[in-house]
Symmetry: C2
Subunit: 403 residues, 2 copies
């Protein structure tokens, strides 16, 4: 008898008929001899609706209030899903993040899970009850409701799988698995059977929205296998697991893009030690994650430009912070470009293959696409380009490296 | 400096512009030198929307799941209201029922408040923060979310006013106060300046939906003054307070009606001791509140009919229970009538005035209205009639007793 955590995303519980379908799948899994813990996101569109309500009040909503507001969506879907399972004749109970002991830090709207106190969940499972957990949310030491950031329900699912030592964590979504590229852009894109945690991590952080990156980190740390699959069919999905020899033979396993970044440049800052630290500490203190950072070579004037990218949702906040720091430091000014995209190639095989970078630059150059920023890691290469060239770049890179 | 609890109902927070208006009123009260605790209901329509979703899954939703589902509405409105107050430049924080220590029993969907652990609320007020409390909800000993039944936000407000020893509890709604009758039915109906707890209690339990009856009981027990007023204007409203001499001079202070009752009759049950107890214990065990009970005089056959009324929402459940008990007891059968209404006259002056009952029966008889059941209390007289006669009866009674 296996213990399986099944996480259903927003479109999977997007309507009452979808919720009933989820209940049937859960019950089928139980009837096959497994124990199941269900984790649900808010019904599709609900979180956006709540965000829209808050925006009608203020551009800068208090993050503690945002968390109480947004956490309500998963409460609704978990209660409805538990009811749907009950109506199939099975015992089921819904639980909030607090009730299943998801204890987080107090970084509202992007809290980190500190521990999972899963006693109640274990007791409920022993009693033969199917628990349905409201994803995305936890509780801080001060007893306030926190949320884990967008896509945080994935993290809830993996954290619970790890806490319960589950055999498998299934992430149900509206796509069949992890593709070599976005199939809406690249016709030849195909589903991958297996992918390593690190590759998935790069893809998630690069904007392939199938799996939240913190969830993958969590799974990697505890070696918890994840399957990404569709709740709309019975296809097997993509297994995200430990890296092995087979995987290394493939140089590039995927091409991704991310249009949700903004580039901020602080111009002509004095080039002396501690400048970058001053800027990025201020930004980190505001809980903003900086992605790429590029600093130009210093000229004779001892002045330099620093460019960096942040998620577009944080851009306004980051811009304000940068402006303040800019004044303090006596820089010439700050500008922001939101019309950018990041295209990336990912693969564990890149470690042992040469010439991948030059081939990527050449491919983009041939298509007349200008590269604004470059960033590399062991298994990833990213270029920031003009947003209008995104689709052209992704297609060209897929053709060059995969098909 | 007074401490005022202001409770805003569903229509008062029914849209973002309404929520902004609430924030302005709260801030105005603070600027006049008061401290304010805000209690909010769910945005109008939200609770019904959630109930509708659950009905699409099952006719008999689990009550624990219902509570988690329904409690989400007040979380949304409290977070949005706190944001709106913040955006006017004041410090504000939203709190769930759990966070302000509303501890209830575990009767899901109609829980009773056992105590209020208001330490956090006191601390927040000391810090000059305006707390916005999600009404209608609490938490049970097993850490599960409970709700206080429809209109329960009134009870939250009064319970908090009592716990904090507030000077006043203002209940903001979409009417100007408590009228002598429903102004939609009776043109001459007028707003009452003052009304006693007992009168308000009878009116609330009789279907005058301005104030939840449990809230009034709570206020009466602790002698906490309540003002019922409109959030759509600045009229003074109706003060609900301790009874005094002046009030006794008025025989009938209001005429009310209730169309949300169903009558159940169990026919030809053996008339022996313990029969009624058996039936009403079974119904009470299901947490259903029985309103009127009429038992006919026993005939020679030693058989009797028992009729009683229950809220229409509980009618199906009560009917099923009654049918089971009926079989057990060897009764002839059970029937139910949902096309009934209860019309009532209320007034503390009734205690010291004679002939009120006969005048009421005469008034209805003159209009050709048949009386199905009668129920009396010290300060109230109710008749169950056919629902189609409701408006005619209310108008006739208002004319006979008030204008």
């Amino acid at each position: 008898m296996a213990l399986i955590v099944q996480k259903y995303g927003g479109t999977s519980v997007g309507s009452i008929s979808r919720i009933k379908a989820v209940a049937r799948r859960v019950v089928r899994t139980v009837e096959q001899g497994n124990r199941v813990v269900v984790v649900v996101s808010a019904m599709a569109g609900e979180t956006d609706k709540l965000i829209d309500l808050s925006r009608q009040i203020t551009d800068m909503p208090d993050e503690r209030e945002m968390d109480l507001l947004l956490s309500s969506g998963e409460r609704v879907s978990s209660a409805l899903t538990a009811m749907a399972i009950q109506s199939l004749g099975y015992r089921s109970m819904s639980f909030t993040g607090r009730q299943v002991g998801i204890i987080t830090d107090s970084s509202h709207t992007k809290a980190m899970i500190e521990r999972v106190e899963a006693e109640r969940l274990r007791r409920v499972l022993r009693e033969g009850i199917i628990p349905v957990v409201a994803g995305f949310q936890g509780i801080s030491a001060s007893s306030d409701v926190t949320t884990l950031g967008r896509g945080g329900s994935d993290t809830t699912a993996v954290a619970i799988a790890v806490a319960l030592k589950a055999d498998l964590c299934e992430i149900y979504t509206d796509v069949d698995g992890v593709y070599t590229a976005d199939p809406r852009i690249v016709k030849e894109a195909r589903k991958q059977e297996r992918i390593s945690y690190d590759e998935m991590l790069e893809m998630a952080s690069l904007g392939a929205k199938v799996l939240h990156s913190r969830a993958v980190e969590f799974a990697k740390k505890y070696d918890a296998p994840i399957v990404v699959r569709s709740s709309f069919n019975n296809k097997p999905g993509t297994l995200v697991t430990r890296e092995d020899r087979e995987m290394e033979k493939i140089v590039v396993s995927g091409v991704t893009y991310d249009k949700n970044q903004a580039r901020i440049t602080i111009m002509s800052v004095p080039d002396r030690p501690g400048i970058a630290a001053r800027l990025f500490k201020a930004i980190a203190d505001a809980n903003i994650v900086v992605d790429m950072i590029v600093q130009n070579v210093s000229t004779k004037t001892k002045k330099t430009d620093i460019s960096f990218t942040v998620p577009i949702a944080d851009a306004k906040k980051a811009l304000n912070i940068t402006r303040e720091v800019s004044k303090e430091l006596g820089a010439r000014g700050v500008n922001m470009n939101t019309n950018i995209a990041k295209v990336s190639i990912v693969g564990v095989g890149m470690r042992s293959h040469f010439g991948v970078a030059s081939k990527m630059f050449e491919t983009l150059a041939k298509k007349g696409i200008n590269i604004m920023m470059i960033s590399t890691s062991e298994i990833k290469l990213s270029c920031v380009i003009d947003v209008k060239d995104t689709e052209k770049a992704v297609r060209a890179l897929h053709r060059a490296f995969i098909v």
